[in-house]
């Protein structure tokens, strides 16, 4: 059976060029970048090159990039790092109600530690209200952390406006740009953030490597202590092949950005047009908002997303949902809930996220299958 992947927001295949760039760093140039001998220096050089490629991709300087083990770790480091460092100034952090769990759960943890967290709501289109943000800033506020693009709906926030407001009150801004990188221009200077999280495996790089952009001159408290790698902000021997792959994939993403955006947009629009045309009663969430070009959150009323996903998988189609019927995972639909979807609709919503290799043919086939499944299951 032909299988089709429509879940590129969860992860992506590693690009062939990225794999070739990484290969020499497993067994040939295997040195520890902290060693002063030639093996170590070779690894260090490779890391420095990758640091430059990544910095260039987001408009930063190389010394502003801290490698981490994941996007989650970058988010954790940013938020807890600021909290611990600036606890003397205040204990208030502002975030949104639609953040990825690596931000949300970290904020919940800090809440237990005695920090105060404001979770800003979003409007029907999924955007936070800037005046509400401004009103929630107080003298104890030390950080505003708002994601650049949402993983479930793809909605893009006005980070530039957000950071300008925060700056007025001397509050730092962090943004989780894990889903944004490679799907829209991300330039730290232009958007004015102090910290920004990115991850390799969402942009055709390897899993197990992420990075935090940390504005020059800003110090934060580390969460991992040890050998003092990454300017003492993140100890642990660097994942050299992973970092090399991250660098390479960033270079590719930026070189081809315009072309990629155009492709994703074309395919996503085709998907949405066809769904609207062939399946009655569906709702495309936040379709009126500015979105990254590959994500489509679709509500199919009357059919449980869990049922539809299993049936789709049995027909070779991989997609995902934000909510599952298992009680323990209920909280994962925070985004859909914040959008104001009824509980019923939250259970009927599926996310399709397409990738660079998704074709028009695949969309046509998928629509045929979905249409068939909906017809026999809708009640």
């Amino acid at each position: 059976m032909k299988t089709m992947f429509f879940d590129y927001n969860s992860t992506t295949p590693v690009a062939a060029e990225v794999v070739s760039a990484m290969l020499p760093y497993f067994s040939e140039h295997f040195g520890n970048a902290s060693s002063s001998h030639s093996y170590g220096q070779k690894a260090l050089h490779a890391i420095d090159m990758a640091r430059m490629q990544i910095a260039k991709a987001i408009g930063a300087n190389a010394d502003e990039i801290i490698f981490t083990g994941s996007g989650t770790e970058a988010n954790n480091l940013a938020i807890t790092g600021i909290a611990h460092k600036f606890r003397g100034k205040g204990n208030h952090i502002i975030t949104s109600s639609i953040e990825h769990s690596s931000v949300y759960r970290q904020c919940k943890y800090l809440e237990r530690c005695g920090f105060e967290i404001t979770y800003l709501p979003v409007d029907k289109l999924g955007k936070i209200n800037l005046s509400e943000l401004e009103e929630s800033i107080k003298k104890e506020t030390i950080l505003v952390s708002i994601m650049t693009a949402n993983n479930e709906t793809g909605v893009v926030q006005s980070i530039k406006d957000i950071s300008q407001i925060a700056e007025k009150y001397n509050v730092f801004t962090h943004s989780d740009a894990v889903q944004a990188l490679g799907k829209m221009p991300v330039n730290v200077d232009e958007i004015g953030v102090d910290l920004l999280s990115i991850s390799a495996h969402k942009i055709y790089g390897p899993k197990g490597v992420g990075a935090l952009y940390l504005r020059r001159g800003l110090g934060i408290a580390p969460i991992i202590h040890g050998g003092g790698q990454e300017k003492k902000m993140r100890s642990g021997t660097e994942n050299v092949p992973g970092i090399v792959g991250f660098g390479k994939t960033c270079e590719l993403a930026i070189t081809n950005l315009d072309r990629n955006i155009e492709h994703l947009q074309k395919i996503r629009n085709l998907l949405e047009d066809k769904v609207r045309q062939h399946i009655l009663g569906i709702e495309i969430n936040s379709s009126g908002a500015d979105r990254i070009p590959n994500t489509s959150s679709i509500t199919f009323p009357g059919i449980s997303s869990e049922t539809l996903l299993v049936k789709l998988d049995l027909n070779g189609i991989a997609a995902s949902s934000g909510s599952a019927c298992g009680a323990a995972e209920m909280e994962t639909s925070r985004t859909l809930k914040a959008l104001g979807l009824s509980e019923k609709d939250q259970h009927c919503t599926i996310r399709f996220s397409i990738g660079l290799s998704t074709t028009e043919k695949e969309i046509e086939y998928a629509i045929k299958i979905i249409k068939h499944l909906i017809n026999i299951h809708q009640c």
């Binding site: 237990r112 005695g114 009357g302 509980e343």
Partner: protein, 283 residues
Amino acid sequence: MWNYTEKVMDHFLNPRNVGEVINPDGEATVGNISCGDALKLGFKLDENGKISEVKFKTFGCGSAIASSSVLTEMVKGKTVEEAAKITNKDIVDALGGLGEEKIHCSVMGMEALQSAIANYRGVEYRHEDEDEHHGRVVCHCFGVTDAKIRKIAKENGIKTVEGVTNYCKAGGACGRCKDDILEILQGVWKLESRNEEQLELSVLTFTQKVIKIQSIIDSDIRPMLEQDGGSIEFIDLRGDTVVVRLKGRCAVCPSSGVTLRNTVEGKLREYVSQDLKVEEIRG
């Protein structure tokens, strides 16, 4: 993504007896689509009083569909009295097992059958001991009452909040009612309970104050810190000053001052007295 037995998969993909019974003898809808699960079940009896036709329509996940489907096979040919004896455990067994977090699907099947039988008998469906719909709503996300939680806990020997969530979803969404559920469980199992009315510190003897502070630290504060690898020990009460020692991750956390002031002092002030201050001793 899913972990279903072959039997569950079979009933999910090829559900038996889907649809609606025309002119049913008994019929009921349970669950609520807004909670993610709903089930409509109806049956018809033959001249011998045996269930000859039974049909269902389910909105929900694979295990909800499978539970309903296997249930219809189980009741066919039975008398109403026989069918009324089927429990959710029988449904789980018939399916060759269900994951803990999917047990509520079998509970929904049993409830639908019992409600349909009650409808046939012309009575309101009520549980033997208390009516779950008339209790106080504890979990607002799923509309679960205290009566229902008590019943589920007693019948299945559940002693943890997580167990309750697995059986009836209560506490599984926003989680705001978890403390409430814990209290209900404490009541059911006669565990030590706290949270009596806040007493004035002045009317408490010194020993009572110490006991009260110790119990709040044990029941509220320490479990919270332990979630993140920290801990706390109550050392002494000197006047209005509670002396504690932070342990584990809290002992080395740069933000322990924030924890001490907001989490520890905040809770003690809320539950014991506004006059309390907290001080930390190190080492």
